[in-house]
């Protein structure tokens, strides 16, 4: 493999003047790496999603096979995996459930994150850095352990139930863990910094004299917010929401620790197909279907991301 890299490098190097050459080498390393470890893997997943499963190592029938009796190559393309996905209510149901969970969590994330990002961006500069630090700090600690912390809080004999029982607000413990609610809380909690940071970097750049002008002209602060601040922050809202929504659709750890056992999410189904059923083709088909669905959101996210960096340039 090292040989292949060197070969491609040599090809890249062999043309153009010297400085351009240097640039090409700089570009080539990350480019080749991502081509090999990011793009080609998807092509392999795509290929395997059209294969038949079989009992072997690896448990996949090849697409091209040399048939010695007829002395030629035979291409076996199988759409069965996709037909299987769309004929089985379990998969369609799981798919819609995942989208619903991600959408609801994104909504709550936005509802909590927007006011926080707004408050931070309007705080005085010294405090602003402290607040940002406090937002980012949990992100540096283990994601797994932060989700785990909610198990202790949401359990039937957990902290929240004990607290409410002691206040006599409830007579018997609520079922909080292993519900949709628990998954929403887990996703909002884990992804909140991803919502707040793009929103903050947008809100911080706003020209406050616009709001002053609105105030001078007699607009109510709330009117000014809805007519000026909110429309200006649309790109931050879109970027933050997609940064939460896209990974949340395929979330695996949060639903498996906090979620229902009778309703799986698509990430869990994919993992089960792969590890428990050892059905690599169906797992691949699930991955491709999920990817196709996420293509549009990823594209929109890319657009806004590029626009932000272009604006910075």
């Amino acid at each position: 493999m090292g040989g292949v890299c060197l070969f491609i490098l040599a090809v890249v190097q062999s043309s153009g003047p010297l400085t351009v050459n240097g640039r090409r080498i700089v570009i080539a390393w990350p480019f080749i790496w991502l081509l090999l470890f990011f793009i080609i893997p998807f092509l392999i997943v795509f290929k395997i999603s059209f294969s038949e499963a079989r009992l072997a190592i690896p448990p996949v029938a090849p697409l091209f096979e040399w048939v010695s009796s007829t002395k030629n190559f035979v291409l076996t393309l199988s759409f069965n995996n996709y037909l299987f996905l769309f004929s089985d209510a379990l998969y369609i149901n799981t798919f819609f459930y995942s989208i619903k969970v991600a959408a609801v969590s994104t909504f709550w994330c936005l509802l909590l994150g927007y006011p926080m990002a707004y408050a931070i961006s309007r705080a005085d500069p010294v405090r602003r850095n402290l607040y940002l630090m406090l937002i980012i700090l949990p992100f540096w600690t283990s994601f797994l352990l932060r989700v785990y912390a909610w198990v202790g809080l949401l359990k039937t004999d957990g902290l929240i139930n004990n607290f409410l029982l002691n206040l006599r607000l409830i007579d018997e413990p609520l079922t909080l863990l292993y519900t949709d609610f628990a998954v929403y809380v887990g996703i909002v909690y884990s992804y909140l910094p991803f919502m707040i940071l793009p929103l903050y970097s947008n809100l911080e750049k706003h020209d406050l004299s616009l709001l002053e002008a609105a105030d001078d002209l007699g607009a109510h602060p709330i009117t000014a917010f809805f007519k000026i601040t909110l429309p200006l922050s649309i790109s931050g809202i879109v970027a933050g929401s997609l940064l939460v929504f896209i990974p949340a659709v395929g979330e695996f750890v949060i639903p498996s620790l906090l979620g229902r056992s009778d309703q799986l999410m698509i990430g869990t189904v994919l993992t089960n197909e792969f590890f428990s059923n050892r059905d690599w083709p169906v797992a691949s088909a699930v991955a491709i279907a999920l990817l196709l669905f996420l293509l549009a959101p990823i594209k929109i996210f890319q657009y806004y991301q590029d626009r932000e960096t272009e604006a910075a340039l």
Partner: protein
């Protein structure tokens, strides 16, 4: 005005309570004597017994050491590749393949981990069939997978740092006849060093924290700490995990505070130097 100040402060208070309450409760109950994590045993607590249990657990300590090694190696690889990519995107203008490179940088940021994990594993299986490498899966395949998904984060950090500096310094050096490589080592790298450092730390945490991708691309004998933690917490809460969380939090908090302080000091020194140069010019 005061009403708005009140609104902002209460929003922030509420948000920070939400962010920190679970973490604080986890630390609190790590000192609890009872095996029932959420019931405070007031007679025998606080106790350090779960910390003793934790530090006697060879499996956890071994996995932690393995995770540190994997995270350090993959962060270093990700920093090299991510810096090169960031440099290309921020400084080289329009080049052939730019659009593809920027897609390959943005997509891993949001790609669901199960998809990345599955596709990396299938790549390694296909590579092994074709070339005999890698022989089975283990530490090396985890490192390769981690480099791939964390280099995108390094790129974004480095790129935005480069974007906030204009390239006149670099251009002057080139005009004066410095070789591009020299310009990189003497000018560009010192300027972006804080971003490179925070990119390394980010890549380190991403690798240190990852359970889903590791689960796909690991083999026998390469069980990382998050994988052990995940299999333990799936069976329910256990107090030694609380102790582990507290230890990790302490280390992370220390590292973040120290590195922030360090990056700030580099910045301040640079500003001071710039001011001195300017006053000498005058």
């Amino acid at each position: 005005m005061r009403v708005r100040g009140l609104f902002r402060n209460s929003v922030l208070m509420l948000g920070f309570v939400f962010l920190y309450a679970p973490i604080v409760s986890m630390i609190f109950f790590s000192f609890n004597n009872s095996r029932l994590v959420t019931v405070w045993d007031a007679v025998n607590s606080p106790t350090l017994k779960w910390y003793v249990v934790l530090f006697k657990n060879e499996a956890i300590l071994g996995a932690a050491w393995l995770s540190i090694k994997i995270a350090a190696l993959s962060a270093s690889g990700a920093v090299v590749l991510g810096t090169l990519a960031g440099l290309s995107l921020a400084r080289f203008g329009k080049f052939r393949g730019r659009a593809l490179l920027s897609v390959m940088i943005t997509a891993p940021l949001v790609m669901p981990e199960v998809i990345t994990g599955l596709s990396m594993l299938l790549l390694f299986v296909a590579l092994e069939q074709l070339t005999g490498w890698p022989e089975g899966r283990g530490i090396l395949t985890i490192i390769f997978a981690h480099i791939t998904f964390s280099m995108a984060y390094v790129t974004v950090v480095v790129q935005s740092r480069l974007a906030s500096f204009d390239c006149s310094l670099e251009e002057v050096a080139l005009d004066l006849g410095a070789r591009p490589v020299t310009v990189f080592w003497r000018i560009t790298l010192p300027i972006i060093f804080p971003a490179v450092l925070s990119g390394w730390l980010l890549a380190f945490t991403l690798s240190w924290d990852d359970v889903v991708i590791s689960q796909f691309v690991s083999g026998p004998g390469s069980t990382t700490l998050p994988m052990i933690v995940y299999s333990k917490v799936r069976l329910g809460v256990s107090p030694d995990i609380n102790a582990l969380a507290s230890v990790m939090l302490l280390i992370v908090a220390l590292c973040v505070v120290l590195s922030t302080y360090y990056i700030k000091r580099i910045e301040q020194r640079r500003v001071a130097e710039a001011l001195m140069v300017r006053s000498e010019e005058l």
